[in-house]
């Protein structure tokens, strides 16, 4: 979906509230998504149990990312030098537009007739497919989940499990409609249908576009993790390979992957290891029988340096996009992936989207949280996710305060600073609550629409304490 930044103020918030309301009423969908994650929890816990100490592994993973993110100025040039020495070409993109332009130019130069692509959330971030299609280039998503979403004309629902909300029957129907295949209920057969369809497309494509999970500075290699083998074919068969990656994906050592790869698999998908973990070290060299003629890497900033400049939230650049925080998030599970209206859904999306697309338009995502902290507890690289939601709220209150809200909090301070006023206000509230419940009082009305409210007690604790003769100060 193309950003609709030009719409009326608060459009994103209004849309969020509307979609959330619609979604929570769809109990069938909510239960389906909840169930879909049931298996994940079981396998994740089983895999976690294989670690001698999961918490120490989190420390190690977070340290690897911390030391890279805090030394990007040194490690990015090192990576680039090594990548270029391997024969790759690097292109720097300040923002989404620049990245799109670079990729379009490369595609044009390659005189591409067909483009194949593997899973790459960064390409969703820059709305790459729409741009390529606008210029007349067909792009095929080769990851099964992304392919299904492409046929459905929808963005990914979850940035790791793009079509987790789609039932098997729907996939079968979709394939029937677009590929003319007979209905089937077997997941294996559905996978095979997509594979058979895809094989020739790999061969026909002149350009393959992939993402990157890690950029290894000391070797200049790109690490890509996948379950289907489609990224390998996407990178190896077409004549030109273009990889798109955020600058924060750099790690210093090849050894860092020894902890990051298994943790990515376990935390996000409940796997011991993802099926294919490949390191790409440049285009085909003399004497090699396969691989692309050219290998390009587009390194995208798109506000990442702004996050880097904020020491408080810098750790949000540690994110390895495992998806674990979405899987445990009660907000995600109840409002669904599309309600966010963002490339990155769930808790981490709520943290970084205001940085990527503006705090005034996207702060409502940080407000839409009970701050339960389930996300921070599972994050393999220990991002302080739920506290960053608080930080975003604070930054929004400072830079784009809501006048009425601020006024309300100022009144609150006046009351909370005067025990007598607090006690008097409390007494009035308690004695009028019965009546207030019958009036359309904002907030109170929102509570009462779905929940009961108990009657207020006649005496407050402080009254009871005083009357018992126990007051001490």
């Amino acid at each position: 979906m193309i950003a609709q930044d030009a719409q009326s103020p608060q459009w994103a918030k209004k849309k969020f509230l509307h979609d959330a309301k619609v979604h929570v009423q769809d109990t069938g969908h909510r239960t389906f998504v909840q169930k879909a994650l049931g298996g994940y929890f079981l396998s994740r816990d089983a895999q976690k149990a294989r670690y001698r100490d999961w918490e120490q592994a989190r420390d190690a993973a977070s340290l690897a990312k911390w030391s890279a993110v805090n030394r990007l100025d040194e490690l990015l040039p090192l990576f680039v030098a090594n990548f270029e020495a391997n024969g790759g070409q690097v292109h720097w993109a300040r923002d989404a537009e620049e990245a799109r332009r670079i990729i379009l130019d490369l595609v044009r130069e390659a005189k591409a007739k067909a483009i194949i692509k593997s899973k790459c959330m960064t390409s969703e971030e820059i709305h790459l497919n729409a741009a390529l299609e606008k210029d007349g280039y067909g792009v095929i998503e080769s990851d099964l989940g992304e392919f299904i979403q492409q046929l459905r004309g929808e963005p990914p629902y979850h940035f790791v499990f793009p079509c987790m909300h789609v039932r098997r029957e729907e996939i079968s129907e979709l394939f029937g409609k677009f590929l003319g295949t007979p209905p089937t209920n077997s997941p294996e057969e559905l996978t095979m249908i997509a594979r058979r369809h895809m094989r020739q497309l790999y061969v026909d494509a002149d350009v393959g576009i992939t993402g990157a999970n890690f950029l290894v500075a000391e070797t200049g290699q790109i690490s890509i993790t996948e379950n289907e083998g489609n990224a390998r074919l996407t990178a190896a068969l077409p004549r030109v390979h273009i990889s798109l990656s955020g600058i924060e994906k750099v790690v210093e050592h090849l050894d860092d992957l020894a902890v990051l790869l298994p943790m990515l698999a376990t935390a996000g998908a409940g796997q011991q290891m993802t099926c294919y973990n490949t390191l790409y070290s440049g285009p085909r060299r003399d004497g090699e029988c396969d691989g692309p003629d050219e290998m390009h890497l587009v390194l995208l900033d798109n506000s990442r340096t702004a996050i880097l400049a904020d020491p408080e939230q810098r750790d949000s650049l540690h994110c390895i996009r495992c998806g674990a925080c979405l899987n445990v998030c009660p907000i995600f599970k109840n409002v669904g992936g599309f309600t966010y209206g963002t490339t990155y859904q769930g808790p981490i999306g709520s943290v970084i989207t205001p940085h990527l697309r503006g705090l005034s338009d996207w702060n409502h995502l940080s407000a839409a949280s009970s701050l339960c902290g389930a996300c921070s507890d599972v994050c393999p690289v220990r991002i302080d996710i739920h506290h960053h939601l608080l930080h975003n709220r604070r930054n929004a209150a400072r830079t784009v305060p809501n006048r009425w809200e601020k006024f309300g909090h100022q009144i609150f301070v006046i009351v909370a600073s005067r025990p007598w006023l607090f006690a008097a206000g409390g007494a009035i509230f308690r004695h009028t609550l019965g009546m207030l419940k019958r009036l359309p009082v904002p907030l109170l009305r929102d509570w009462l629409a779905t929940r009961a409210l108990p009657a207020a007690p006649r005496k407050s604790f402080r009254q009871q304490w005083r009357q018992a003769g126990k007051d001490s100060l």
């Binding site: 839409a368 949280s369 608080l390 609150f412 009961a452 009871q464 100060l473």
Partner: protein
């Protein structure tokens, strides 16, 4: 030990029986309790809404109220987390930082205080009911209190403790979140409340009166049980005071 009661604003005004139960349990164990009537609210509503300047004023005042108290004990994981975890962050790099850290070190959640500070698990209570325990998120994840309330409950006579399958899920209260995003909040209450009620318990025990507000509010209005009974929430202190509602 002289214990200074930290009675959160909600408990003071809406569930005073919880404060009374806390004092009863602590006094029964031989400790004197004081209530400093200068206390009001910890400032969490403003803090969570992002209005930190406002919250800071309230926090500085609260730190003054509890100045010199040997131990500050409150019956709410959330409000205790505000004092212990968030005051130091809120007052970082201000002249009040040291005082905030000092108060943080003296502040305890009720169940945690009994087990970790006083070393008590059996307070001699009897509560002949089937109960389940609801973990409030702030207690669970900011204070890391999980086992303590369960240890206390297991020692209560005639009490049967069962676990629900969503034990670590949020009830959806989240302060102002519950009225700013009522639809999401309610959906969360449905998941957690349903899971708790399906244990067929008589009572849902909690250490957070505002979680109780949310869960009770949802269950009383929405829960349809085959047996016709709707579980009620009760605070841990009330169970330990041995006086069922």
């Amino acid at each position: 030990m002289k214990i200074s009661l930290f009675i959160p604003c909600f408990v003071d005004q809406m569930t005073p029986q919880v404060g009374v139960a806390v004092a009863q349990v602590l006094e029964r164990l031989g400790h004197a309790c004081e209530f400093r009537s200068g206390q009001t609210c910890c400032g969490q509503p403003s803090f969570n809404a992002g209005y930190w300047d406002e919250a800071r004023e309230v926090a500085i005042r609260a730190i003054g109220v509890f100045d010199g108290a040997e131990a500050v004990v409150g019956p709410s994981g959330s409000c205790v987390a505000m004092m212990r975890v968030f005051y130091p962050e809120l007052l970082k790099d201000t002249p009040h930082e040291t005082a905030a850290l000092d108060l943080a070190a003296r502040t305890f959640e009720f169940g945690e205080f009994l087990v970790k500070k006083l070393g008590v698990t059996d307070v001699g209570a009897r509560f002949p009911h089937r109960v389940t325990y609801h973990d409030g998120c702030h207690g669970l994840r900011e204070l890391r209190v999980k086992d303590e309330p369960r240890q206390l409950l297991r020692a209560v006579r005639d009490l049967e403790l069962v676990e629900c399958d969503e034990a670590e899920s949020c009830c959806g209260f989240g302060g102002l979140f519950s009225v700013k995003f009522p639809m999401i909040s309610t959906a969360m209450a449905e998941v957690k409340g349903g899971s708790l009620a399906r244990t067929q318990c008589d009572y849902i025990v909690s250490s957070d009166p505002t979680c109780q507000l949310q869960l009770d509010g949802w269950l009383q209005r929405n829960w349809r049980s085959p047996t016709g009974t709707i579980p009620r929430t009760i605070h841990l202190a009330e169970v330990l005071a041995g006086a069922p509602l």
